[in-house]
């Protein structure tokens, strides 16, 4: 019988609280950094939550589960791993407090503990259901009006329209991201670099999400880490850098364009592979068999070489001078190619080859007997480049018609040491992911769409004033892509306020702890732990920010009421203290950049911006994690490892400490 361990609520809470205490001190813009040291003496400073969590040695199954959830969330949104743990811990604490106070006595349980556990489970499920159904509405009504929508066009402050406030641009969003990830010294430089890169890659007709998706998918091929230089040496270079060196000396090709072909297999037909049997042509000759056989092998190799010569000749006739090969070519190929003034780059990775194929428009050659002109790519140049201690191949593409506006460029990221460079590269990629989740259109599932169109007045959740325009209050209350809000806990304060209002306006008959008001109140209280920890160094700052925001909400309960009047000449809902004005589709929000009054500009000019949709995804992910944690009942200890997740984490360069032996 395998040893079993029953899990109680305290175990779960203790595990998560321990993880919280680990990340707590690095949280927020004022948080500190963690110094990682290896036994070899290498040291690295980092503030990234994923790095800290993956470096811990955890054998406790719940802790590993939580860390995996954090990692998965972070690969989607690129940010928020420490906030995840903080919210998780505070939610569990609130659930435990509520469950201990009134365990659900309607069922019979063996002990108080099981009663508490079941109450906690129900609470978590209720909260998750609430989040999936109503949270986006609440955010759209209660938080989004106080933020603004960044348009994809204005990247940097220089390209701002004069009417738009200087703060609202993508660069500001990136700067606050890099500030919290890398520190305040270089955040502006790096965010400028990222904006420049994205500007170069912009396809005019495309949505921002497709561009960002493209950059995210190909990021490993689009950047080159160079260690040993200060970060201010990072730059953009045009074209693509292939992270391999030439296998044959590169001829000085002055004529343009340079033609290149991508080859995926071996050019020389393989003579013999292991396990194959070569049957040479048998003749009727008897005694001369032996000699005939020998000459047959010789003939075979001679034939193979002649075929190779044909291939090279064909390539020469097409004017090809560069061969990019995915595999290692044989010595004969190298020799022949050198003779023919062709240079070969071997063992190029698949990502880079696919990017090359995409950018140049040439398909890779699969069968070396059939090399057609469509396989030939035209390059402006193809030459070696020295970056740091390595020599790479640098190619630049001819402008073709379809990508006339795109200037492909590659990022060179410099850092003082290998670990630091790796950190900067990860920060870049996380920034791209964050932008991607900000601009990704939130897809409305079938259920929510039907709910929105069929029930325009959900009387359970809002007061149905007869003044409310009943036609379409909810149709377009979605999270617009590109919504941002000032950083520093603003989102949490606003959502807290909105949730408390929502809870108080829900039907009062449902008074149990499982009722909607209690659930939203619990959630609202748990949210406040985030700004509390941002301002951990000063409780006064926390209270000041809170009062300032609440007074702003009271004074500006209709942030766009005057805009509405000017633009659309309709009657505005006069709800008392509720920001219930029905929002029209997108247009209203896009006008906010130019039309908000002075006070809200002052409100916006706080430190930094953060993305609303990232926060929303974070909340949903945390609630899902809470729910799955509380559904765990028992732990079975097996003697053999079922799978080895620690090996998977070995890709991260600082994972050397995690070499525990699996028992």
């Amino acid at each position: 019988m395998l040893p079993m361990e029953h899990l109680h609520l305290e175990h779960v809470l203790q595990t998560v609280c321990v993880l919280e205490s680990v990340v707590l001190r690095s949280f927020g813009p004022e948080g500190g950094q963690v110094l990682f040291t290896r036994d070899t003496g290498q040291a690295m400073l980092s503030r990234s939550g994923t790095r800290i969590l993956t470096a811990l040695r955890l054998e406790h199954p719940l802790a590993r589960m939580v860390v995996e959830c954090v990692l998965k969330h972070s690969t989607v949104t690129g940010d928020g791993s420490k906030t995840f743990i903080l919210l998780l811990a505070s939610l569990l604490r609130m659930i435990q407090k509520t469950a201990c106070k009134e365990p659900n006595v309607s069922h019979t349980y063996n002990s108080r503990e099981t009663a508490e556990a079941s109450t906690a489970r129900h609470l978590a499920d209720k909260m998750l259901a609430f989040a999936l159904e109503e949270l986006d509405d609440i955010i759209a009504m209660g938080v989004v009006p106080y933020g603004c929508c960044l348009s994809w066009e204005d990247f940097t402050a220089k390209t701002q329209l004069p009417t738009c406030p200087i703060n609202h641009c993508v660069q500001k969003l990136l700067a606050s991201f890099f500030h919290s990830r890398l520190g305040r010294t270089h955040c502006d430089f790096i965010s400028n670099l990222t904006c420049e890169m994205l500007t170069h890659w912009k396809f005019k007709s495309d949505l921002p999400s497709s561009l960002l998706q493209f950059v995210n998918d190909n990021f490993s091929a689009l950047h080159t880490p160079v260690s040993g230089f200060p970060i201010s040496c990072s730059r953009l270079i045009e074209g693509q850098v292939i992270h391999r060196d030439f296998a044959t000396p590169c001829p000085q090709a002055d004529h343009q364009p340079v033609k290149a072909v991508v080859v995926t297999g071996c050019l020389q037909p393989k003579l013999l592979s292991a396990g194959e049997v070569l049957v040479l042509g048998s003749g009727e000759q008897g005694r001369e068999e032996n000699s005939r056989k020998e000459s047959s092998i010789v003939q075979f190799t001679a034939w193979a070489e002649r075929s190779l010569e044909c291939v090279i000749a064909k390539l020469q006739s097409l004017g090809v001078s560069v061969l990019l090969s995915a595999v290692k070519q044989s010595a004969a190929v190298l020799a022949l190619a050198a003779q023919a003034d062709m240079c070969i780059v071997e063992c190029v990775s698949e990502d880079e080859l696919s990017l090359f194929a995409q950018l140049s428009g040439a398909t890779p050659v699969s069968d070396c007997w059939m090399i057609e002109p469509e396989h030939v790519a035209a390059l402006t140049f193809c030459r070696p480049i020295l970056l740091g201690a390595h020599r790479y191949v640098h190619v630049a593409f001819h402008d073709s018609e379809e990508r006339i506006t795109v200037k492909p460029c590659s990022l060179v990221i410099c850092g003082p040491g290998e670990g630091q460079t790796d950190q900067y590269a990860c920060a870049f990629q996380d920034a791209i992911r964050m932008l991607l989740s900000t601009w990704e259109p939130i897809d409305i599932t079938a259920t929510t769409a039907s709910k929105k169109t069929l029930q325009p007045n959900k009387s359970t959740c809002l007061h149905v004033d007869n003044q409310i325009v009943k036609a379409s209050p909810f149709q377009q209350c979605v999270l617009e892509p590109g919504c941002v809000i000032p950083a520093g806990g603003t989102f949490e304060f606003l959502l807290n306020h909105a949730l408390l209002q929502h809870g108080s306006s829900c039907s009062i008959s449902d008074d149990t702890i499982m009722g909607a008001p209690a659930v939203s109140q619990l959630f609202a209280n748990a949210l406040l732990s985030v700004p509390r920890n941002i301002y951990f160094y000063s409780l006064r700052r926390f209270l000041q920010t809170q009062t300032r925001l609440l007074s702003f909400i009271q004074n500006h309960s209709h942030p766009f009421s005057h805009v509405y009047k000017q633009e659309h000449n309709t009657i505005v809902v006069q709800g008392r203290g509720k920001s219930e004005c029905p929002l029209e589709e997108g247009k209203l929000i896009n006008h906010c950049c130019g039309e908000t009054d002075v006070s809200s500009q002052v409100f916006m000019s706080d430190s930094g911006l953060e993305s609303v949709s990232c926060k929303y995804q974070l909340l949903v992910a945390v609630l899902q994690c809470v729910s799955s944690l509380l559904h765990v009942d028992t732990v079975l200890h097996t003697h053999t490892a079922l799978h080895t997740p620690s090996r998977r984490l070995a890709d991260i360069s600082w994972e050397g400490t995690e070499d525990e032996a699996e028992d």
């Binding site: 361990e5 203790q14 595990t15 680990v22 040695r57 406790h60 199954p61």
Partner: protein
């Protein structure tokens, strides 16, 4: 409520300590301690370590008088309070006067710093004051003085003794006056005990001067 608060603080402390150890390179195991139920940590030498058992004061041990001086002290105090409210007090032995039960709460409560030594040594250490204090509930010593009476030179002794005698006689007179005019039982009893202790002091002074 305070218990819940204390428990929560203890849990917070445990979490913080465990977080520190994790950052130092300890491994968090999947097992719990048998004694207290906290998650076990393992250091690089493969030794298991429970934070709450080995570092924090135990939650339960602090109430055990055999292990903790404070607990012992509070137990003694409780017993004393219980005893005083029922039986006649363990008044000072020189009190031959009327049985003063609540009046002479002159049983001084043992102070903790003294009791620490008491737990080790076993002797009570309240030195008697040389002159009884003027306040009515005279905290006269009940227990044996530790200091053996120091006998200074006879020359320097006389004026001191005379002064002491005068002071005591003044107090005696005052107490007698008070006693004649006192109306309440309590104050009479206290004044009587004061007079008794004054008389005792005079006797000791006379012995000294001889």
């Amino acid at each position: 409520m305070k218990v819940i608060q204390a428990r929560r603080e203890r849990q917070d402390k445990i979490s913080k300590l465990m977080g520190d150890y994790l950052l130092k390179g300890y491994k968090m195991l999947g097992e719990c301690c048998d004694v207290c139920g906290t998650i076990l940590l393992q250091d690089k030498q493969k030794k298991n370590y429970c934070v709450s058992c080995q570092e924090l004061d135990s939650d339960v041990d602090k109430d055990n008088p055999a292990l903790n001086a404070q607990a012992a002290l509070s137990q003694v105090r409780e017993r004393q309070l219980a005893a005083q409210s029922t039986a006649p007090s363990q008044a000072p032995e020189m009190n031959e006067g009327p049985s003063s039960s609540q009046a002479s709460v002159s049983v001084p409560l043992p102070r903790p710093e003294h009791c620490e030594g008491a737990a080790a040594g076993g002797r009570a250490l309240l030195p008697p004051p040389a002159v009884p204090s003027p306040s009515p509930p005279a905290p006269t010593p009940t227990l044996a003085p530790t200091r053996p009476p120091v006998i200074p030179q006879t020359a320097g002794l006389q004026p001191v003794l005379q002064e002491a005698e005068e002071a005591i006689l003044t107090k005696l007179r005052w107490a007698t006056n008070q006693l004649q005019s006192s109306a309440s039982l309590e104050s009479s009893i206290q004044l009587c005990s004061l007079i008794a202790s004054c008389a005792n002091s005079l006797r000791s002074l006379k012995e000294l001067s001889q």
